[in-house]
Amino acid sequence: MLFFLETVISGLMAGVMYSLVALGFVLIFKASGIFNFAQGVFALFAGLALYDFIAEDGWFYDLFGFALPVWLGIIATMGVMVIVAWLVERLVLRHLVNQEPIILFMSTIGLAYFLEGVGDILFGSDVKPLDIGLPQGASDYLLDNYNLYVEKLEVVAAVVAAVLVIVLAIFFQKTRIGRALRAVADDHQAALSVGISLRTIWVIVWSVSGFVALVAGIMWGSKSGIQFSLSLIALKALPVLILGGFTSVPGAIIGGLIIGVGEKVAEVYAGPFVGGAIENWFAYMLALVFLLIRPQGLFGEKIIERV
């Protein structure tokens, strides 16, 4: 039983990561109808940038002779992500307005490889252990009292993800930008007619998903270091989206957790019988099953053909 709990909890940790990446996808998809393939690379890029702002061997240190304190580094990285968002709007989206979704999708694939390349050139491709002072190791409290082995970092990640979701929910439901974002997601023309500037909204949405990517990058980097495989979790986010629905924020969260836990449990308990490596395909299997029985996802809006 204890072992099962530990498996579930470590699945949740992986799930939180998937959720965070999926969340970035959902935000952009809702506001601009674009499936942003580069979301995983955003997380990588944000992680790399943060590392270089705060580490002793980062190039900020090389340039100025000191590294930024963590909180400043995070702010600076956020600045970088806003600039990336602005550039994406300025150089890509603006010129592709009204194009087919597939063309926009292709452009984000291009963006992904471009950013990966830039990241490689600027920051190098070796694994970078990100240490922003998050607690590491097992929680003594849970170990002593319940004999349960739980990484402190996993607890922190879960709490951070929860806070992030609450903040985003308030942002979308209560603020004027949130209302403008929902307006744009609903009807571009109508949004324009009340004076909402699509360009501003796009920059904001891409910045917010850059922020979400930064959080994902921090969590992932603290656990296994910043490395290029991080951009691959973008692929895992795809089944998460199919599960949760492309337009649902809660769907992204729940979907991510289900897949995270599902694949860990499957790996541990069914792995030995099929020769392991279930983790590699479980998410896609689950997504396939979902596509057959509930294509709009758990929380997605029902797809009704307009006539």
Partner: protein, 266 residues
């Protein structure tokens, strides 16, 4: 009509506008002007270019030639957000509402141009923005009152019947307190009672707030009843301009309407 208004100077001047899509000439060399506090109708058969004209005025379409002067500012091309900020609000031929949002939130979006605090500012400081929000809420409540839609304030507009959706859309435009209101077939697809309600609202808006109104309408009875002046388009060209009576007796107009199947009169 017994309401009393003083028609003022020209507020909107459309000057030699031409617009084409590839080979299709949607508008050729159109000029007319609309005076302050006027109810001005654009009529014409299907495909005449009426909606395209509105789309040029609020910046959705960018005409290749000609200029549009609004409140003294002359431009060929304007961005929709600029037009909105200058005081132009509109409704659409096919309802364009934010279907997932409530009536209240939909109408609230109409306040967008009146909100001073920049978007980023609003995200950072909740305090003053909150206060501003309350002031805007008051305007929105007045609009809701005016359009008699208190009962559906919290209803998601996607679930409302067609006639009410049209009314909410008008509400969203009114919330902007526009100087110029563009209405693209505000009564299309409505039953008689709904049409009468809509007519009354349009006249009341014009009367009480002095809003200048440019509307497209197929129902001749309605057009003749509520508009001060009319421009007639056909195949992207201007056929006539004048008071309803002048237009009604214009031979070109009569020919156009008899010659073209005019079955959309419901």
């Amino acid at each position: 009509m017994t309401y009393e208004r003083t028609i003022g100077d020209t507020i909107l001047a459309v000057d030699q506008i031409s617009l084409s899509f590839g080979g299709v000439k949607a508008l050729s060399d159109i000029s007319f002007s609309v005076r302050e506090h006027e109810v001005f109708a654009i009529i014409g058969p299907n495909g005449a270019g009426k909606s395209s004209m509105l789309n040029c005025i609020n910046g959705f379409y960018h005409p290749q030639e000609g200029t549009i002067t609004f409140k003294g500012k002359t431009r060929r091309q304007v961005r929709p957000s600029e037009a909105a900020r200058d005081g132009i609000a509109r409704t659409f031929q096919n309802i364009a509402l934010f279907s997932g949002m409530s009536t209240l939130d939909n109408i609230m979006t109409g306040r967008n141009t009146k909100m001073n605090k920049g978007l980023f500012w609003q995200a950072i400081r909740v305090g003053p923005a909150e206060k501003e929000e309350m002031a805007h809420r008051a305007v929105v409540e007045k609009v809701i009152d005016f359009l008699e839609i208190e009962a559906i304030r919290k209803t998601a507009v996607g679930t409302l019947p067609y006639g009410l959706q049209k009314r909410v859309e008008l509400g969203r435009a009114l919330a902007a307190e526009p100087d110029l209101l563009l209405l693209d077939e505000p009564m299309a697809g409505m039953n008689l009672e709904e049409k009468q309600d809509m007519c009354r609202f349009i006249l009341d808006v014009n009367d009480e707030f002095g809003t200048t109104i440019v509307l497209i309408e197929h129902d001749m009875g309605v057009v003749m009843d509520i508009s001060d002046r009319v421009v007639v388009l056909d195949y992207g060209k201007k056929l006539a301009e004048g008071t309803p009576d002048e237009v009604r007796t214009n031979q070109d107009v009569i020919d156009a309407y008899l010659g073209v199947s005019h079955g959309e009169d419901e």
